[in-house]
Amino acid sequence: MDPALLQRHGDFEWHIAPIGGMHVPAIIYADEALIRDIDDKVYEQVTNVARLPGIVKASYAMPDAHWGYGFPIGGVAAFDPDAGGIVSAGGVGFDISCGVRTMLTGLKREDIEPKKEELAEALYASVPVGMGSTGQIRLSPDEMDAMLDGGAQWAVERGYGDASDLERVEERGRMAGARPDFVSDKAKSRQRDEMGTLGSGNHYLEVQVVAELFDPQTAAAFGLNEGEVVVSIHCGSRGLGHQIGTEYLRDMALAAAEHGITLPDRELACAPIASDIGQRYLGAMRAGINCALANRQIIGHLTREVFARFFPQARLDLLFDVSHNTCKLEEHVVDGQPRRLYVHRKGATRAYGPGHPDLPAALRPVGQPVLIGGSMGTSSYVLVGTPESEARAFSSACHGAGRSLSRHAAVKRWRGQQIAEELAQRGIIVRSPSWRGIAEEAPGAYKDSEAVVNAADRAALARKVARLDPMVCIKG
């Protein structure tokens, strides 16, 4: 993107003033180098979002923004239900509540190293991964609905993990307002064999070492110590979420005209929050959130079982579980007044600052952990929500780095076996059912996550706390 198209407000904030039907400005948080790297389609998408009814304050794009479906990936937009605001299935995405969970092992790198290969094999054998893999849990129709209503709370009640996990999960592990009856039978059948599975593409389970601390005080509050090992899981709502996204995107696209909505892009399919289809989508999407929370709770439990075989003394306490594809009703202060808004985060992570009442007591003084996944073989980061974050973008931050090369180009450039060997030489063990999948996910195919995280920090979206480097990577 040409920076000359934008109005510069400091080194990390760029505006597009309202033009051509935009109700609010578009605001992109990034440094100039990232701006030049952001594809031109983001300009079109972030300004299209600004034209949607009931949007409040601005259409935002995070430092990792890239071409999405209607909304840019890395897009944040809030809508007022009392001002004709909309809800958009494209503003949430197909993988509803995809997110990251990070657990603290208390183990040191030197504890893991001698057993790294065996640990990798055991994790790969225990956590179903890749297309065609199935979980061991089969839910009856009643249990499916209970899971869609109960989320991670349901999973804990069924013996997956501890009740103490729940305060470290957004929404305390259960998204209120879920309507399993608004989820189609097709979506439920697509989930039937997929509970406790990791999925594919850029999903992963990683064993990581805390490589660097940027904010030792907050790191200590989070339980992050340099040289210690954590485990991070990146996945979402699996087939159920994908089917909900597919169906409601279609239904909203077909219904847009009857609600008086002209879509500049069919992918921006949306409906008034107060409409029947808007309410049905919200109920189904919340069920999808619960499915993702339950799924990560189950995979976390499976991970604990594996670690217990190798390290009986390790507890794997949950640091936090964040989601980055959601629409949530939240209270935010706008122009000095509290307002209840539907905040879409499409490839963006919520980042509540210190003092927020929704944070667990132990974390409230410091702020919410923001877990930013790297790509295979690259660093991940832990950030923390800042006091400024709400005013910057409704308490939102980035979620990852985004791709610099298409899957198509990555496969032409690299062989999966070559990538796995190179990572092994760096001490990173990779396990995946597909060499081509590894090639598509090659570290070189992704942008520099450090640059993205630095921009988020300098833009006051979230503050850097620690860097995590991979030791073992299980990929779908």
């Binding site: 071409w67 993988d95 065609g132 594919s200 593409g201 087939g239 597919t246 995107l249 985004g402 779908g476």
Partner: protein, 145 residues
Amino acid sequence: MRSTVGSPAAGWCHFTHGADIGVCGFGPTRESAFEQGATALMAAITDEPVAQQERVRISCEAPDDELLFVEWLNALIFEMATRHMLFGAFSVTIRGHRLEAEASGERIDPARHRPAVEVKGATYTALKVTRQPDGLWLAQCVVDV
């Protein structure tokens, strides 16, 4: 960037999209373009041949050709996910905006097929169904992986 497979008269391609994969099919009829588009979808998942051991009937409809193409691919994605199958051959009939098809394939064998990705859904991005100047029909869209 596109890479094309097939003959000048009918074939499929993948095209570049930042995070995901563009799939396209082309042929002398709408139906053949849709069949080739489905082949492109499968090629996004696996490079390995898929045996035709089992047939699945699919029907769908939509208000226009473009939405119908997305419905077609999403119907295949649903069948793959719930039957744990991959498909290798397709026979499509379109009357108006209603599609009837038969997809032939086999149960997925992760060790043999080594699926690279799992397709979440067909999107409206780069969605196009059109008859080109050379007379061939083109059907394309981006699929979310």
